[in-house]
Symmetry: C2
Subunit: 345 residues, 2 copies
């Protein structure tokens, strides 16, 4: 179509240097045997003519395009975007570009996107926070294309992953609340049937209660069906409803900061003081949690590091480097801020 903008090709270099095309290719890719004299000629020609290899043509031959596909559920999510940032920096440094697709929690959409990416010969996949959907991931794996799952433990020993220990981290949060003397600790979560992260945090909550000899009380486990609205709004609504019933615990653990925001807003709307009357601990440490009032005590996830780690792992696999460990769990930190205190007397 825009012929007039035709880039110089390897052919032009070959003509300029007076050698064969294959020789130029060998020089560029440092393959095969080329004499030092000829190499010099080619290099000079490359210098003179401003040449950039046609990645599409190369991709057709080599079946690799130096691109990595990222599949996320929703790009509008402070957690997600930080992880992506970590991936992006590593990918770029190592010479890859990122194709990003969002599934918006639709499993058919996910499948379609993957097919498109397979058509495009991406070199690898990152699945960031999807469902526990072995099938679709397995399909990619079975084609022999490297992939990494981030923030999801896929129930398939072959699939590499990068995560935090969600169970342990949430238990840590509950332990922390207990250390202040809380005996009645509620939990705010969105639905957790479909993915390991939420499930494990929930299990961490349960284990925390158990180890601290507190009985589990389903009455104070608030489940936000977050498909309806954004998570903060949704939590605000469902918590507001909950508060009408009374039965208030002295502390809440939240599955994420975003949900904690909704909880806090609902509590404040009822005139409940934090942390004097109710303590709140979040999870993720997204940037605003330090700017709400009171600053939110939370479990910090190493978001950028997770992204960077995942991308390095993936690219090592793409480049067939030896990787020692394909199952990586990164550490979390409890950030003490001002939303947790002792229970009221």
């Amino acid at each position: 179509m825009n012929k007039r903008f035709n880039n110089p090709s390897i052919k032009d270099i070959a003509r300029e240097a007076g050698v064969a095309i294959s020789t130029v290719s060998n020089v560029i890719n440092k393959k095969g045997i080329v004499g030092t004299e000829t190499e010099k000629k080619v290099l000079k020609a490359l210098e003179k003519i401003q040449y950039r290899p046609n990645i599409i043509a190369r991709g057709l031959r080599t079946r690799s395009t130096s691109t990595i596909a990222i599949i996320v559920q929703d790009i509008v999510n402070p957690y997600t975007s930080h992880v992506i940032k970590g991936m992006e920096e590593v990918a770029r440094k190592r010479g890859y570009t990122l194709l990003i697709a969002c599934t918006y929690y639709d499993i058919r959409e996910e499948k379609k996107q993957i097919d498109v990416f397979l058509d495009q010969f991406v070199d690898g996949f990152v699945f960031l926070g999807g469902y526990d959907n072995q099938g679709v991931v397995r399909r990619v794996y079975d084609r022999g294309i490297p992939l990494v799952s981030v923030d999801r433990e896929i129930d398939d020993p072959d699939i590499p992953y990068v995560l935090i220990d969600n169970l342990e981290a949430m238990k840590k949060a509950v332990d922390y609340l207990c250390s202040f003397g809380h005996k009645k600790i509620g939990y705010v979560t969105f639905r957790f049937e479909y993915q390991s992260t939420s499930r494990n945090r929930y299990l961490g909550y349960c284990k925390g209660l158990e180890e601290n000899h507190i009985d589990y009380d389903p009455e104070i486990v608030i489940i936000d069906d977050y498909m309806k609205l954004n998570e903060t709004e949704g939590t605000f609504e469902v918590v507001s409803k909950f508060l009408k019933k009374g039965a208030l615990p002295t502390a809440f653990a939240c599955i994420s900061d975003v949900n904690a925001f909704g909880l806090v807003k609902a509590l404040k709307a009822e005139g409940i003081k934090i942390p004097q009357e109710v303590s709140v601990i979040g999870f993720d440490n997204i940037s605003f949690s330090n700017f709400m009032e009171p600053p939110l005590t939370t479990i910090k996830q190493p978001k950028k590091l997770m992204g960077a780690t995942a991308m390095n792992l993936l690219l090592d696999m793409v480049e067939k480097k030896k990787v020692e460990n394909k199952n990586i769990k990164l550490p979390t930190v409890l950030l003490e801020r001002d939303s947790v205190g002792p229970p009221p007397k």
Copy 2:
């Protein structure tokens, strides 16, 4: 490399249907003349063999790959990610995938990224919120590749854009403050020399003052050099420093919500009540602004709509449809919440 996963090609279809390759191609692309009988045969073969065209091969021939490159400064930004979401949805619906790259405010990085994308034969570019850097954008334009600038007014009549009227919108904010009787209105901004959006908002602030017969006072224009930290942190610091000096205005207009958060936090840290002592108005309406305390009055940008509009415009250009208007300004709305009130007596 993974030969064993070889997809069926157009050749296989041709063999199955007993026709020539070119005929199959014609059927697939609905081009040329094929008899109804042969067409049926091909269609049947396509049905039988699960065929997906090789996009790379097609791209090599047609020089188009159904991908769009998005260049942003930083993906970790609530504004940015919402705009991207709008673009993503449209692109997907129209059969394109998105390549995303971040420049992190580095102009050389931007140039490098663009070169990579040009190598990859992307069909179009979106420049989302970069510098007023005609050169690099112009280079793309001159290669005949469609592009759209979002949230930046590029000083080049050829370059299509999608924006809001930043000057008018900020003036609206100042007018709103004045309607409460404020006479001393400060402004919080990051550095605005390098890009049109910030500059125009600043001009809107100035115009707002002028039309309301208020003298411009450089003492109460607070400039945050946001390159140092994240914007909220940066603003918090610079405002805190400012507050030590006294000379407090009764209201502030902010270049963005993110900066407003920093301002509000700094004010609260000094025990200053909002809006009783100082009013604050933000810009953007990112989701958290409704959850801070007090909920932030702000100018709402149609973020998703901007993204969707830009992508539709771009794809129309890519597909050589006729586009009537390549310079689009979308409307803003002032959201009245609780951070603005009358000045103290």
